[in-house]
């Protein structure tokens, strides 16, 4: 009877395409909204992912990566003394102003790396050599900084500009993930970063740490926190901390979360409704099948086969369309868009769940056969 069930489904082109369109649309809506939301969340922790080290040590009351709470310079030495630390390096991170050729200012996120090791440097260098950061006045721009500071014509290797009235010379262009606040990153060495910035008592933003081989990052982070009284987080923990803070404090959680939630509800309602209508329209056919001896179990299997078949096809097409959207609109990292497998699996489960649920309602109607359905 699988054959009959599938023929009932595919045989009526118009009805089938309507049904498919409904399921496709809801999948696309949910995946697209969810991916943009998650993309935004990833942007919010790009300060962490761009640096890419196992453990971050900072003030214990830190809320999120962009909110720098400077430490005393001695913290690096203190952290280095904790057993299990392979290395611990200073990182400067702070919002500064770059002066453009036309006299305007542009806010940048200045990142100062340990000069000897350049730990925390971006993974991809697009132009120039990041090692030249050790040269006098050298800085590296990310691709967003190139755009913001005057475009690729003006900002290229060798260009000289000013950060807080100090000379800066571009030696490399690197690739980073865009930040949530959309402030471009400018890299230099730790020492030079201190010189670029106005005098302050404390300037050490973070201590970056790698555990010795065989020591789990979580365990070492706990130990550092315990022995130094500082806040120590694995990159993952710090990322989640940042996401939680953003969700709670920026209104993105409420505003965008509501949109995502509504997208989910609307999408599921459309999916459930279209499939339910499909089975209701077929009720007479199923009734006739029951009258001529198809058991409720057999009808249930037929309806479930139909709903899962069209559900899976709609899911596939919907994801295809959402991905095409993400690839087009999110090209070059301009739009936050991150399709993650938990989202895809979640949508699949929800979609099949709603299909099964609407099937169950129709099956219930068939459990007790109304003669009015068939003898007419």
């Amino acid at each position: 009877m699988n054959y009959v069930a599938l023929k009932m489904l595919f045989g009526d082109r118009a009805k089938y395409l309507m049904l498919l369109a409904g399921l496709t649309f809801s999948t696309m809506l949910i995946v697209q909204q969810g991916s943009i939301f998650w993309g935004l969340m990833l942007w919010s922790q790009s300060g962490i992912t761009n640096i890419n080290v196992p453990i971050w040590v900072t003030d214990p009351n830190i809320n999120q990566v962009e909110e720098v709470k400077p430490l005393a310079d001695t913290a690096v030495t203190v952290v280095r003394s904790v057993p299990g630390v392979e290395w611990a390096m200073p990182l400067y991170k702070g919002l500064q102003r770059a002066k453009l050729e036309d006299g305007n200012y542009q806010q940048i996120s200045l990142v100062g790396l340990d000069a000897a090791t350049l730990i925390g440097r971006p993974g991809v260098t697009l132009e120039g050599r990041i090692e030249e950061l050790r040269d006098p006045d050298a800085v590296a721009l990310d691709q967003w900084a190139v755009d913001r500071l005057g475009g690729p014509e003006r900002m290229k290797i060798g260009t000289v500009f000013e950060i807080n009235d100090h000379r800066a010379r571009v030696v490399a262009i690197v690739q980073t993930q865009k930040s949530f606040q959309n402030v471009p990153f400018v890299y230099t060495t730790y020492k030079r970063a201190l010189r670029y910035t106005p005098p302050e008592r404390r300037k050490l933003s973070y201590v970056l740490v790698k555990p010795k081989d065989g020591i789990p990052a979580e365990a070492l982070a706990r130990r550092i926190a315990q022995e130094t009284g500082l806040g120590a987080y694995t990159a993952d923990e710090f990322g989640w901390k940042t996401i939680r803070w953003v969700l709670k404090n920026t209104g993105i959680g409420v505003n965008f979360g509501t949109t995502v939630f509504l997208g989910f509800v609307v999408g599921m309602a459309i999916a459930g409704q279209t499939f339910y209508l499909f089975t209701v329209e077929n009720l007479k056919q199923f009734g006739a099948l029951k009258a001529i001896g198809a058991s409720t179990g057999m009808l249930a299997r037929m309806i479930l086969l139909q709903s899962f078949t069209v559900g899976l096809i709609g899911y596939g097409v919907g994801i295809g369309l959402a991905t095409a959207f993400g690839l087009t609109a999110g090209r070059g990292g301009n739009l936050p868009y991150a399709e993650t497998w938990p989202l895809l699996v979640g949508v699949l489960i929800a979609l099949l769940g709603i299909c099964a649920f609407s099937s169950a309602i129709s099956i219930r109607k068939l459990a007790k056969l109304e003669p009015g359905i068939v003898f007419r």
Binding site: V4, L289, I292, F375
Partner: protein
Amino acid sequence: MTTQPSEIPEPPASAPLVHARGIVKSFRVDHTRIPVLKGVDLDVAAGEVLLLVGPSGSGKTTLLSVIAGILDADEGTLTVLDRDLFSMTEDEKTAFRREAMGFVFQQFNLLPTLTATENVAVPLLIRGLKKEAAFARAIEVLKTLGMGGRLTSTPSHLSGGEQQRVAIARALVTEPRLLLCDEPTANLDAETGHRVVEALCRVGKRPDRAMIIVTHDTRIFEFGDRLVHMDDGRIREVQHMNEEELR
């Protein structure tokens, strides 16, 4: 159950295929009970074509639904093929319909996306037969009903009479002992209706099989062995037709 009938048709006196006594059925509409069947006694013998006639609302469809096990009666006893229908569960009744009954509906109730052959094969597929075997058998039955030329047509490409022939083929394909037809000609013009019932009786009438046909259509009365008149939930009159021909 019953052995294959010998050359001598079973006399009507032998155990009837349908044996109903004191069937009472009422529907509840807004807290009031509307009695529809008010004590129906009916026996249907093997080999018999019984025509159930009567004014609209007299309870013919209701009676047919009760005999089919689609509707539960409030009172009375009913045995079909020696089985007590009222003591069966819903699933048992469904299985019983699958094994022992065939149906022809007023609105044909064919699956619109299936071809004639596929529609006729459905009861066999429900029984678990392989597709090829089911289709072969379906084609055989369709041919006996003069539908050999329309095997791959879907219902929307068939005339009403042709659709009803497909429905008849579907009802007969499992060789059921009891065939229940509710107004099989109501959606057909008189001429077509006559020819369809003629085909139904030619192919479907068997010494071991009973047919109950609910109808308003006087032009098909000639095909009945007995005419049972219902009125207001009771059987008013039983008329034996073609008696001389029967004996």
